[in-house]
């Protein structure tokens, strides 16, 4: 356990030439990206390539009476116009979602959300394709939509999913976890019970690059090549094989450079399927790139949980139990990307970082006339919602008890000796040491001085707030025995090949969207096998070039694929040791590993480098008995548990009492993600997530009017933080390695997105304490804060 404040980095070690992996190293992917030589999906240009555009529904709920495509078909440059009816003839009008529901590729009977795909046009260029969309005449019979989630199960609510046999209402699923009776018993005896309604509104990941694909079907070879914006190329390939009946070995999914994912690029969207169909129909390569509005109104949204949180405690601040009731809006199709047995993702970690006696959650999920999705935006499978709930209600308890929120948290933390710790909802936290992380954040913030400053300012009528959030995340899904996506076990393969000259290539099943895999995975392998990171090529994002695995989301690359990379390198090193023993004419047991070479114990002058061993493995001369030539290995890593990173975040806000504008003055983030591979990259991941948090807490929301029109359909309406809304981030770290991960790493990609919204909201509510405000929902825009100051805080939905 170490507790260190991250230094301001001003010097730059050149680590890429050293046979040691971990540490700050500049990124291998940067040279191409800095020169405009990245290759994103929309950069793919193939000879004869056509362009596809999708006609979308203007209505949230309407029956399709008829579609006339004749004018569009006659338009200049148009090669094909395809409707749902045409797809239905091929059995392709519907496709499975990642949650075992079905979703229309193109609507046949009804449209069920505004922006739903109705028809597509393929034309010679993208302008012609768009022009022709205007010429498609669709006759709709408009139906009443279900927009207010609270009314979705009302007896007179219009039925959305009449496509599902026997479906008579808009109920999607029920789910519960924990012990209802035991929790009720603890609540009954508690001195203090605080109940709060907490809304986590619908938000959108909105990566800078929208979703798209280039499909190229070769009818002679019968092979489909698909460049697409996917975070999970292997899972997508297998699902295409299953859905479209194409043979899997004849599908190559290529995820080129990806302009941000944040979960938005996990699902398979109708557009991808349309592009594939279009290429098969026209015999040409076909490109589909959605525009920003299409991205915001039709692709994977996030959150949309209405939660009632209850917390029970003793008068002196011992938290006893947490209970919650959740109403979940899943949109028109259940497109949630989560392991099959976890319809609410990992929301079960809503007990947070606290040692409590009982917990219970009951959830009802419903269909509404809104876009499908639900798990996206760096949410770690719904841990964003869980952490927001618990950290918000812990603050309401602190308010009720008149206790400092930092003190209340410190009093209730799970203690280091309790790990592995099984929560009351059955999650086994692998390791944690929470207090030093919390103390470090308080030290960096100067917590006591901040409280003093706040007191002085309050006396002057100024509004300053200090918000704390402490989170425990659960990342790195599987294990495969519990976790699968549509039957595909959540494990990841890795292959390492050392070339004769001692250079290497490592092939991954995961795929970077900016996280820097080409750098960190070279570092992981370098650390294990002593080949400098500069000499290790990382290949990923191409199903023809890489082993099978489930992909990058839920912060799972380092916990799962990173473990695979370390273990495959150890496997290669074991073989190298046998070859080295023959080269040095000693037994294997006589050798010891020193970064980059095997040397004879007690005689370090006698040694062979990994490069010499690699040449011997491929060269002339005999190898030891039973050892094949070559120096390579492949494994598939199935994690034994999730990893549980944690962190302590402190936010300081100032609110203008005249305009209710919230300014985030400071933000201190202390993260513990176990072993740190590249601190520069970790810091970057944290900064990005914190910015997401400012967006969600203060600005971002996908709202709808009563007719189901999406009110966040462009970046003029859906506000994302710019450089002016965020402070200069202050970070620090502690290190509590994961006991079951080969290198002790835990994953950090989503920690800050999970942890920052409650810190910011807690800070705003704290600032509004003089007004008696106990809770106000996100997004805390000036008008919503203004309402809260006037005692008129209302939920956003």
């Amino acid at each position: 356990m170490t507790a260190v404040q991250e230094p301001k980095l001003t010097t730059f070690d050149d680590n890429d030439q050293k046979p040691v992996g971990y540490g700050r190293m500049l990124r291998k992917e940067d040279p191409r990206l800095l020169r405009g030589r990245g290759r994103f999906t929309d950069d793919v240009q193939l000879p004869g390539m056509l362009h596809l555009a999708i006609l979308r529904s203007p209505f949230a709920h309407a029956r399709i009476v008829g579609i006339d495509t004749s004018a569009a078909e006659a338009a200049p440059g148009v090669r094909a116009v395809v409707t749902g009816a045409a797809l239905a003839e091929q059995g392709l009008a519907w496709m499975p979602t990642l949650s075992n529901d079905v979703q229309a590729v193109l609507a046949t009977d009804k449209v069920r959300f505004q922006g739903q795909e109705v028809a597509f046009v393929v034309a010679d260029d993208r302008y012609q394709a768009r022009d022709a969309l205007e010429l498609i005449d669709v006759e709709y019979d408009v139906l009443d939509p279900v927009i207010d989630v609270r009314k979705a199960l009302a007896p007179d609510a219009p039925l959305i999913r009449d496509d599902l046999e026997g479906k008579a209402d808009n109920h999607c699923f029920d789910w519960e976890t924990g012990d209802e009776e035991a929790t009720a018993a603890v609540f009954a005896k508690a001195d203090v019970v605080v109940e709060t309604d907490v809304v986590y509104p619908r938000v959108h990941p909105a990566p800078m690059e929208t979703c798209g694909a280039v499909a190229d079907f070769d009818p002679i070879e019968g092979k489909l090549r698909l460049w697409s914006t996917t975070q999970a190329p292997h899972a997508h390939r297998t699902l295409y094989a299953i859905v479209a009946g194409l043979p899997e070995h004849k599908i190559q999914v290529i995820a080129p450079d990806i302009g941000g994912g944040f979960g938005n690029k996990v699902p398979i969207y109708p557009g991808y399927v349309c592009a594939i169909v279009a290429s098969i129909v026209t015999g040409k390569p076909v490109k589909w790139m959605e525009d920003r509005s299409e991205n915001l109104i039709s692709t994977g949204f996030a959150r949309d949980y209405i939660m009632r949180g209850e917390i029970a405690a003793t008068r002196d601040g011992k938290i006893l139990a947490i209970r919650t009731n959740v109403l979940a809006d899943h949109g028109a199709f259940n497109g949630t990307a989560a392991p099959v047995k976890y319809p609410a993702g990992f929301f079960g970690v809503f007990t947070g970082s606290y040692d409590i006696e009982a917990a219970y959650c009951k959830m009802t999920a419903v269909y509404t006339n809104k876009a499908p999705g639900g798990v996206a935006y760096a949410c770690s499978f719904r841990i964003t919602e869980a952490v927001y709930l618990v950290e918000r209600i812990v603050d309401t308890l602190a308010y009720e008890l008149g206790m400092d929120p930092a003190e209340l948290r410190l009093k209730n933390f799970i203690q280091p000796e309790q790990f592995p710790y099984e929560t009351k909802t059955g999650w086994v936290y692998d390791s944690g040491n929470y207090e030093p992380t919390m103390r470090l954040a308080m030290d960096i913030a100067g917590y006591a001085e901040l409280r003093k400053e706040q007191e002085e300012k309050r006396a002057r009528g100024e509004l300053m707030g200090i918000g704390i959030a402490f989170f425990t995340e659960a990342v790195g899904a599987g294990p495969r025995k519990n976790m699968d996506i549509l039957g595909l076990g959540m494990a990841d393969g890795c292959e390492l090949r050392v070339h004769p000259t001692g250079k290497a290539v490592v092939r991954l099943s995961v795929k970077t969207q900016g996280q820097g895999h080409e750098t960190t995975f070279a570092q992981i392998v370098a650390e294990e096998i002593g080949i400098p990171p500069a000499d290790i090529e990382v290949v990923h994002g191409d199903t023809d070039q890489t082993p099978f695995g489930l992909g990058t989301y839920g912060s799972r690359s380092t916990p799962v694929s990173g473990a695979a990379a370390a273990l495959v390198a150890r496997k290669v090193r074991d073989k190298a040791q046998i070859i080295a023993s023959a080269m040095l004419e000693v037994t294997v047991a006589d050798l010891e590993w020193e970064k980059g070479k095997f040397q004879v114990k007690g005689d370090p002058g006698k040694s062979v480098t990994i490069q010499q061993i690699a040449m011997r493995a491929h060269g002339a001369g005999d190898l030891p008995d039973g050892i094949e030539g070559g120096l390579e290995a492949q494994i598939c890593y199935n994690p034994s548990n999730l990893t549980y990173p944690h962190g302590a975040y402190i936010c300081v806000v100032d609110i203008d009492p005249g305009t209710a504008q919230v300014k985030v003055r400071r933000f201190i983030a202390v993260d513990d993600c176990g072993t740190r591979i590249n601190p520069m990259i970790i810091e970057g991941q944290v900064h990005g997530g914190l910015t997401d948090g400012v967006g969600m807490a203060l600005m971002e929301m996908i709202a709808f009017d009563e007719d189901g029109n999406c009110l966040g359909a462009s970046l003029m309406d859906y506000l994302i933080p710019t450089s002016l809304e965020v402070p200069d981030w202050e970070t620090g770290y502690t290190v509590t390695p994961s006991p079951h991960h080969p290198i002790g790493a835990k994953g950090v990609g989503e920690s800050a997105t999970v942890g920052s919204p409650p810190a910011i909201v807690n800070a705003v509510v704290d600032a509004l304490k003089p007004f008696g405000v106990r809770h106000a929902d996100m997004p805390l825009t000036p008008s919503r804060v203004w309402d809260a100051m006037r005692g008129q805080a209302t939920p956003p939905i």
Binding site: G514, T691, S723, L724
Partner: protein, 165 residues
């Protein structure tokens, strides 16, 4: 219609539709895919290029409007193998992650440094405030610009010393 403009110091003439956007002209017609497209509404700034040295959002400029003018894109930043200091700054300070907003960001930041070689953090934030980065949280972009500023100043000083000697 025919349009002629200078792109990264090379004169190009192409037959285009009047409605063609500059971003599509650069990407699809000329194959300069370093300039990206992200929003249609001038909010995100992934499409920023220079028009006569001024940063503009090329998704809201017609290619025809660039006729007779000088356009510079990210592909025109480096001098051969040598990265521009702003590019090197982004590399050194982790000013990019997915790299999608990066070309537009660098074009804006280069233009800032050309006018103001030693900007404050607040001035850098103001300069890039019309652009969105979803990955970095902006702090490392600000450090990247500072890096370029400091290193350019040092290089200029050195050059002056050499000239005086």
């Amino acid at each position: 219609m025919q349009v002629t403009m200078t792109v990264n110091d090379v004169e190009v003439t192409r037959e285009i539709e009047g409605r063609l956007l500059l971003v599509h002209f650069l990407r699809d017609t000329l194959g300069l895919t370093g300039t990206h497209w992200g929003c249609d509404t001038s909010n995100c700034g992934t499409c920023v290029v220079w028009l006569d040295g001024e940063p503009v959002k090329s998704c809201t400029v017609l290619a025809a409007m660039a006729g007779g003018h000088e356009v510079r894109t990210v592909e025109g930043l480096a001098k051969g193998a040598e990265l521009d200091p702003i590019q090197e700054g982004f590399r050194q300070c982790h000013g990019l992650q997915c790299g999608f907003c990066t070309p537009g960001m660098m074009m804006t930041c280069r233009a800032l440094l050309d006018k103001n070689p030693d900007p404050t953090d607040a001035e850098i934030r103001e300069a890039i405030s019309g652009q969105i980065c979803r990955c970095t949280g902006y702090s490392t972009i600000i450090r990247s610009v500072r890096w370029a500023s400091v290193h350019e100043a040092a290089a200029a000083e050195k050059q002056e010393e050499v000239a005086q000697a």
